[in-house]
Symmetry: C2
Subunit: 326 residues, 2 copies
């Protein structure tokens, strides 16, 4: 479990420190619908002690029609869900980064080697409206890597599948040396190595923007925004991966779940991966997303209790060499 104090974890109440494992295994009490819902009347309120819910709606005709706005278009937010050959992604039009990308790897998919990253190139995503799109020039000389969220190396089974990982809608600005090209790459390798034990591995990856306490005792979220000619793409403070390692290829088999949060910063290769393990709920609170709402608590195991959560360090040059050979 991470020794880093994430502010957001504290908010999870029971889900901190020793109780984290319990939290990981507890099913969330809230259920979320898959799409937007418009309840026609609010649920009864149960907020502050002694607070009473709003009065009953008036029975007469309403003098207003707020939904008339939608004649001008629905404001959104629109999540730009995209279903690619080997992953699905949801895009955040405000930060110009993905909300999440979800991939699936198997021993078979990783054994196929018909794609080569030398044939791929970084592409702006034309399915994102121009005014919300991350651009190649935003990254140019920004000081950050175009950091794949679904790694190209997970998609060697098809050139097309690999090409699609090069859309900027699958990228975030990542610190290059010491992170994207090092610890984060080792972490991606860890995910791939899970297929030696598990026949099916699902990985959900995305950015976080976490608050930290400053000298005035207050908490602030602060992140750089890169871009040219104007700031356009947010630089996440952290990245998460939520891993589902499926023991059997069945709809009701056991699933080993692991959630990790890494800072977008240089990380020493000597740092144990397990220090970045967090309760799943921490990622949910921080991202506003839910990852395992429908996963029965009886099917869940804790990944780092089932397998050794550690990275194997290969130097960058060495990895590149190995990569090119394939």
């Amino acid at each position: 479990m991470s020794k880093v104090t994430f502010a957001i974890v504290a908010g999870a109440g029971a889900a901190v420190g020793a109780a984290a494992t319990a939290a990981l295994f507890n099913k969330s009490s809230s259920s979320s619908p898959e799409g937007p819902r418009v309840p026609s009347s609010p649920s009864p309120a149960a907020a502050a002690p002694g607070a009473k819910p709003p009065s009953k709606p008036p029975s007469g005709p309403s003098p207003v029609n707020p939904s008339g706005l939608f004649d001008y278009g629905f404001p959104g937010p629109t999540s730009d869900l995209a279903s690619r050959t080997s992953f699905i992604s949801s895009y955040d039009r405000r930060t110009r980064n993905p909300h999440w990308v979800a991939e699936h790897i198997t021993p078979q998919s990783l054994s196929l080697k018909s794609g080569d990253r030398k044939n791929s190139q970084f592409l702006e995503d034309p399915s994102i409206p121009e005014k919300f799109r991350a651009k190649l020039k935003d990254y140019f000389r920004s000081g950050y890597d175009r950091g794949h969220q679904v790694p190209a190396a997970d998609c060697k089974w098809s050139q097309s599948a690999m090409d699609e990982t090069f859309y900027l809608s699958n990228m975030c600005p990542q610190v290059g040396e010491g992170f994207n090209r090092d610890y984060w790459a080792h972490f991606e390798d860890f995910c791939r190595r899970l297929t030696s034990k598990y026949p099916s591995v699902r990985v959900v990856t995305g950015p976080l923007y976490l608050p930290r306490k400053e000298e005035d005792g207050k908490w602030y979220v602060k992140y750089e925004v890169v871009g040219s000619p104007a700031p356009n793409v947010a630089v996440p403070t952290h990245f998460y991966k939520v891993i589902f390692a499926e023991e059997k290829d069945s709809k009701d088999g056991p699933v080993a779940v692991g959630a990790f949060v890494l800072p977008n910063a240089v990380i020493s290769n000597s740092k144990p991966l397990q220090e970045f393990e967090v309760p799943l709920e921490m990622v949910e609170r921080a991202s506003g997303l839910e990852f395992a709402d429908k996963l029965d608590v009886r099917r869940r195991k804790r990944l780092c209790a089932e397998t050794s959560c550690s990275v194997i360090v290969k130097e960058y040059a060495q990895r590149q060499k190995a990569f090119e050979k394939k």
Copy 2:
């Protein structure tokens, strides 16, 4: 037009300074669907000069099934659309603030006075899952007001309608003295006064988190996060209002559109409101939302060209007194 240089405006290219009016009247070239869409294959790419689109998808069976993740639930984001008696809102589970709230006011709705804010109280919104909910204790001693996005005073036509504006899902942390209780209140009053000229006025309101340039020459978004026991609710750096003043109660009449962005800070009462006018596209780029995609360019007018965009200053005590009398 605002003299403040918003970084995000620069990104709008043509939509700055003198060209702002043109931008306001130009129909957005992008059309956005109202809900999430999952295109089964990516559109052809047209990004960098000379860039080629991804290879064709493989024709054989795929070794992976990324959408299998959804058996565990759909990650979201979920926008928690809520349709209240007199407004509609969309909630941002990550910042614990609304994305937008949309209200409708008319001469008739403002003439009715059956609601009294003395009968209303602030309420947590039980329709938001607990882990994403803004809490009363988050605001307590935070130093910020629970700032209504749809103003209570716009909903006096029904006690129920007014009560519903007191859900925390209609609030953001706002600077109290000098902003929420002063300039922002005068701005809300400006919106109401528009009904003396226009038979139907729609106002969309929400928070922004804008970057600013720091001494190192880089752009940063920085905002406080308040909460107890842990940081939970983001303090927006700015607020926007997009106003649609409808000249006729018809589906094809002229519409005067105005977009304004105000900092969440003390604003001198002597500051002209028009200094906060911005191109609509600036609000769209900054929020990731779209407000007038389906509004025909031939119907659009510029609000501040049609009417005087200025606030009338009433001192807080005086306004409270006037408010209580009603």
